[in-house]
């Protein structure tokens, strides 16, 4: 398909520019790693005081965190749209995007990708294997396929939420601090939802379904059968939220007002 070949052309170009700024790339990967390490330490500190949290053990929590890193890194590599309003609406860059014969959202994904973040996938896998080994989890032949499906679902959930938020920019270009707040809320999906109260659990499942990025899909691999329904809903929720977001986007484009000049 046409878009796939455009995608690889951009990736090639991206690597070419990035390799000329090698130091930059290394610093970025390093700071990502540091950030992930801090999060892990946080889990370890909490479990320094207790052995179980709402029935989840330390290694299970670590496993969930490891899983979370994989879809999150994929999201972070391709959907850098947290500054969409500033960059594309206020500065009028959207004008340029709209004069090109490729879907506007796809172009923004291509322009804003940051492939360094994909390194998080490796970190996530390492963390998962470490925790899984301690928990004595076994891997069946079909598990990798289910893993890929759940990861894609989780990444789509994230992408859907953030695309939907970015479309606000088409209606109003005033500054909002909603994006950083959303990144914080996203972190709640890394912990088992039954440690929160009912309202938060409901919100994280059906309204801002971040739980489908971490705890729900992980529970399949942790063999927590009470959560299996949710685990297998992950791709469905991902696709639904993503489609809603793209629809909102397409409507938003028709409301685009352009930057004055």
């Amino acid at each position: 398909m046409e878009y796939i070949s455009i995608f690889f052309q951009y990736v090639g170009q991206y690597l070419k520019t990035r390799l000329t700024y090698r130091a930059d790339m290394i610093v970025e990967i390093f700071s990502d790693l540091l950030f992930q390490a801090v999060n892990l330490v946080f889990i370890l500190v909490v479990f320094g005081h207790t052995n179980l949290l709402a029935g989840w053990s330390k290694d299970e929590m670590i496993f969930i965190y490891g899983f979370f890193l994989v879809p999150f890194s994929i999201f972070a590599s391709f959907f850098n749209i947290w500054d969409f309003t500033d960059r594309y609406i206020v500065k009028g860059e959207m004008d340029r995007i709209l004069t090109r014969p490729v879907h506007s959202l796809f172009q923004i994904v291509l322009e804003r990708m940051e492939l360094e973040s994909l390194f998080g996938v490796v970190t996530g896998l390492v963390v998962m294997f470490y925790a899984g080994d301690k928990l004595g989890l076994e891997i069946s032949w079909y598990d990798p396929f289910i893993f890929i499906l759940l990861v894609i679902g989780g990444a789509l959930v994230y992408a859907g939420i953030f695309i939907a938020l970015a479309t606000i920019g088409f209606w109003s270009d005033s500054r909002t601090d909603i994006m950083p707040m959303m990144y914080n809320i996203g972190n709640y999906g890394r912990y088992p939802v039954d440690i929160y109260n009912k309202v938060i659990k409901y919100v994280l499942t059906w309204i801002l379904p971040f739980a489908f990025v971490g705890v729900y899909p992980s529970s399949y691999f942790l063999e927590r059968e009470e959560w299996y329904t949710y685990a297998f809903l992950t791709p469905v929720v991902g696709i639904v939220f993503f489609l809603i977001a793209v629809t909102l986007w397409n409507v938003g484009v028709t409301k685009y007002r352009g930057a004055g000049n």
């Binding site: 455009i6 004008d95 709209l98 004069t99 090109r100 014969p101 490729v102």
Partner: protein
């Protein structure tokens, strides 16, 4: 010949929120909002035929950019019908933009930190241009614009003039039959301007490319366009040949006197009372401009009377420039029909 652009009753309104003043006002804004509707483009209609080069002029805020953005599919019209290259620009955007080229003078199409030719290659991919067509066409474009030596430099290292030429080349990668240029010569020096004009003329002749051009620099339009469309406050106030505009408006000539001593308006009016003269003060008390009919007896009469009475340091006879014509039209707010 077929119409490339067909616009009927095009209208664009922007709704904007006007905030009340003061803290109390801000509080009221939370509940009820005052919206003001600004009409940027107000019911305009025109058609452009294949191969025409049309100058689209107007003051800032006259609605030029807004209408260009509707014609290129960036903005959705509030009302009216647009057919460009046989398509509705906004509805069929992705298919439509393959048939147009766009240069926004204040906005770059190129990627900032990659080499120009890499940008071209990405655009070639985006527009899905076959290799052979690209080679043939771009070789010609690169040669005419003389950008061969710039191709392996990153865009951020180019001067404005160099960048602009590359932007033009980038807009033509897919050899579109219709080209929109919004302020393509803004901030450029004369030599680059001349090169760009020459190039535009050439592609117009060679490929029959239709060109719609907005600019503040009327010399661009004089050099390129036979037809101008003039906008004011969202309405078309003139649409026709540039020549006619000049003929109807530039009937007179101007004589600029530079005196060696101070002159006053009364004194000068008194001197030339037998002719129809409008006196205007120039840059200083010493410089005065007389606008007269383009009639030899009047011109020599005025010069004779003035030079006989006052010492002059310099004297110039000026044709009224297009720029001045346009300014006059805007001052009067409508176009006289001769």
């Amino acid at each position: 010949m077929q119409n490339i652009i067909d616009v009927q009753g095009l209208k664009k309104e922007f709704k904007s929120f006007s905030s009340r003043s003061g803290l109390k006002g801000a509080f009221r804004d939370l509940f009820t909002r005052n919206y003001t509707i600004k009409t940027a483009v107000d019911d305009i209609s025109f058609t452009i035929k294949k191969g025409e080069m049309v100058g689209y002029i107007g003051e800032n805020g006259a609605g030029k950019s807004t209408s260009i953005k509707m014609l290129t599919g960036i903005l959705t019209p509030t009302d009216g019908k647009i057919v460009v290259n046989g398509m509705n620009p906004h509805k069929e955007r992705e298919k439509f933009v393959k048939t147009i080229g766009v240069v926004f003078g204040q906005r770059s199409q190129l990627w900032w930190d990659i080499a120009v030719q890499e940008s071209f290659r990405l655009l070639k991919k985006i527009y899905n241009v076959p290799d052979q067509q690209y080679e043939e066409h771009m070789k010609d474009v690169i040669e005419t614009l003389d950008i061969g030596p710039l191709l392996d430099k990153p865009v951020r290292k180019l001067s404005l003039g160099q960048r602009m030429r590359c932007e033009l080349a980038a807009a033509l990668i897919h050899n579109p039959p219709l080209l929109f240029l919004d302020e393509p010569t803004i901030g450029l020096d004369v030599l680059v301007k001349l090169k760009i004009r020459e190039f535009l003329k050439r592609i117009n002749e060679k490929y029959g490319t239709t060109i719609l051009l907005t600019t503040h620099d009327l010399s661009d339009i004089e050099a390129l366009c036979e037809r101008v469309v003039m906008l004011d406050e969202g309405k078309i106030i003139y649409d026709g040949p540039l020549k006619e505009l000049r003929e109807n408006w530039a009937e007179g000539k101007q004589i600029q006197f530079q005196f060696s001593e101070k002159a006053t308006l009364e004194e000068l009016q008194h001197l030339t009372q037998e002719h129809l003269v409008v006196w205007e003060k120039g840059e200083s008390d010493l410089v005065w401009v007389a606008s007269v009919d383009a009639d030899e007896t009047v011109i020599s009469g005025v010069i004779g009377k003035v030079t006989a009475a006052k010492k002059i340091a310099d004297l110039k006879i000026l044709e009224i420039s297009t720029e001045e014509i346009i300014r006059n039209i805007y001052v009067e707010g409508a176009v006289r029909h001769g």
